[in-house]
Amino acid sequence: MHLTRHRLEVADLLAEVQSVERGGTCVFLGTVRNDAGVTGIDYSAYEAMAVEEIERILAEAHERWPDARVVLQHRLGLIPVGEASIAIAAAAPHRAEAFAACRHVIEEVKRRLPIWKKEYRIDGTTAWVDPSGRPVAHGP
């Protein structure tokens, strides 16, 4: 379940990656930030392609760090400020591979996942966000 409309549960991801052979575990959480006037962000996706792309990204990470185990979940729908939109957990025999695999996966997610953000503002307006963080269109 790479995509969900529910709150992300880090403990569930940790349970999937941790084992007695893997001495280093790291977690990345992406959280909705309180940029000026923002109350939440609505995440939408090309879901079928996003799932395929996540599987390709995780398979590539597995090829590069065969002893590491990495899982990720991306949340969709309206997410309030302070809650996580993405969680990645990576565990490996040693910390270097865990950090490297986790970092690689979040960077590829940012570059490749067909997912879009619409900001909801306190004044009732909304705006699509482009990757540089600049709003591109306003609506009621």
């Binding site: 997912i115 482009d130 591109v136 269109a137």
Partner: protein, 82 residues
């Protein structure tokens, strides 16, 4: 002529006025040919950038990729996941 499915997402779906449709093009075509046809059929999409991101059958491709009848072309606004 062949029928090609077209998907629009996020802001592009607002511009097109729909999220899923189809256009007829002379196949084999390129993704760029499909986009040209889309601009004619959905006037709101004339506001799309000259070279939008596109996926063919759920994989990102360049605009010169070959499209056959029954394929699906998706037009993707700048990606902002994570």
């Amino acid at each position: 002529m062949g029928k090609v499915s077209v998907r629009f997402f996020a802001r592009y779906a607002e511009l097109a006025g729909c999220s899923l449709s189809a256009v007829n093009v002379q196949t084999p075509a390129t993704v760029a040919d499909v986009i040209s046809r889309v601009r004619e059929v959905f006037p709101g999409t004339q506001a799309l950038p000259p070279r939008p991101l596109a996926a063919l059958n759920q994989r990102q491709v360049k605009l010169d990729a070959t499209v056959n009848e029954g394929d699906e072309v998706a037009l993707l606004p700048p990606l902002s996941g994570g």
